[in-house]
């Protein structure tokens, strides 16, 4: 009965699926801009966290680079983009001292929300290290209104919120270029900016970086590529601040597990040794049992420890 119902039900599903598989497909119009898309790529020399062979097992952050990236963020990006999940105190993680962080927080152009202790009215006050980076716009509506209806996204997690995050940010920031001559005219969007790394090719954000835009404290030459790479590295850190801790712990855990697994393999093989030995004995011999007398409960001993 189950089989008859089953076969009938199966026949129905198969029939409907065959109909669907045979149904003619509508032509999908070819996207004439397809060929203009470019793949995100790493800067020359790769990232500090790629580590040897690019495996990503070793390799931490380069604090010098992160501080340069922070400078780019502060002087360029932070005019429009927030960093809402990052606190000023976190900057100690990229090599700033406690005192430096205090100054950075205090001098940040935006203040944090506060309550006037005398009147109870909403007010603002300079940030302290414990505060998160203040929002640029109070909400998305304000962000849209101020930016021609394209809200600048929060950057805290950008490196994890886009496929191939750091490469993407680097490529996008350094990838603005003139519209190619053979680009289909009807796909040009005048109010936007051409960037082959952006998913739709047309991005609302104008090109931000130009050679020499910021002056690095460590004397690094501020080329567009350099700044793009530095700010991408900084945003990789804001998205994954615990990466170094994670990798360090991971290496320890893996070494431990490899040792433990090797040991347990040897133990497993030894526990089973008498079973295998008995196999030669012929049918009817009970593996394990037959040998018990000789081996004086070796497995039984394991009992207490396991």
């Amino acid at each position: 009965m189950v089989r008859i119902v089953g076969i009938l039900a199966g026949a129905v599903f198969v029939f409907v699926l065959v109909l669907a598989a045979l149904a003619p497909r509508e032509d999908v119009p070819v996207d004439p801009t397809e060929e203009f898309h470019a793949h995100a790529h790493a800067p020359e020399g790769g990232w500090s966290w790629d580590g040897p062979l690019g495996l990503g097992v070793f390799g931490g952050y380069d604090n010098q680079q992160l501080q340069r990236g922070f400078k780019v963020f502060r002087e360029v990006c932070s005019a429009c983009h927030s960093l809402r999940y990052v606190s000023f105190r976190n900057l100690e993680g990229i090599g700033f001292s406690e005192a430096e962080v205090k100054v950075i927080a205090e001098e940040w152009p935006l203040e944090v929300a506060a309550t006037n202790p005398d009147t109870g009215e909403a007010t603002t006050e300079p940030a302290i290290p414990a505060d998160r980076f203040p929002l640029v716009y109070p909400n998305e509506i304000a962000a849209r209104a101020a930016n021609n209806n394209a809200a600048p996204p929060d950057l805290s997690l950008m490196a994890k919120a886009r496929a191939d995050g750091a490469n993407y940010i680097y490529s996008l920031m350094s990838g603005y270029q003139p519209v190619p001559a053979d680009f289909p005219e009807d796909r040009v969007q005048e109010s936007l900016h051409y960037n082959p790394y952006f998913h739709s090719l047309w991005i609302a954000m104008p090109p931000q970086l130009s050679d020499g835009l910021v002056t690095y404290d460590d004397g690094t030459e501020a080329t567009t590529e350099q700044m793009a790479a530095d700010v991408a590295a900084f945003l990789h850190w804001t998205a994954e601040p615990k990466m170094v801790e994670r990798k360090t712990a991971g290496i320890g855990v893996l070494i431990f597990l490899l040792l433990f697994t090797s040991l347990s393999y040897v133990a497993y093989k030894r526990v089973w040794a008498d079973v295998k030995a008995s196999k030669v004995g012929g049918p009817g011999t009970r593996g394990g049992r037959a040998d018990k007398g000789i081996h004086a409960d070796a497995p039984g001993e394991g009992d207490h420890e396991a």
Partner: protein, 189 residues
Amino acid sequence: MATADNAMDRPATHAEDGVRRRDFIYIATAAFGGIGAAAAIWPFLDQMNPSADVLALASVEVDLAPIAEGQGIKVNWRGKPVFIRHMRAAEVQEAQQADVSSLRDPQSFDDRTQEGHRQWLIQIGVCTHLGCIPMGIADGEPRGDYNGYFCPCHGSHYDNAGRIRKGPAPTNLEIPAYEFLSDTSVRIG
């Protein structure tokens, strides 16, 4: 793997030896497993400790200017009330004259206040018995038998310097770490 097995398949004369080596492997494996399990438990426990953002909010700054002589205020510090009292000169004198050696938790008034700012008594307003908040800091609250602070939960009486005089509390009200930034401004924590 076959080689390893063959090594174990010795005649019975070597059995003793084999047993000893097996024991070692079993003990080592079990010990490793135990160590690993114990280490793995640590993150599960440590996550209950204060998180980084909680630790970062460890200090507050308080403006003392509005507090008139004889008045006290409560401020929130690490989620607990801190009592700040602007003591009158007479109160300071009274507190300094108490017989320290007779106290349950002997501590002089000068140990509980800072040089140059004796009139400011800053203490954590949490009864050292079981964590209730004693009365006596706000105007009009009962101040207990020693004209200081009185915890209504189990009847602990503190004197005007916050020292325990009567009742179940074992120690004086705790003094937080604080620092005067100016004569009218203090940072607690």
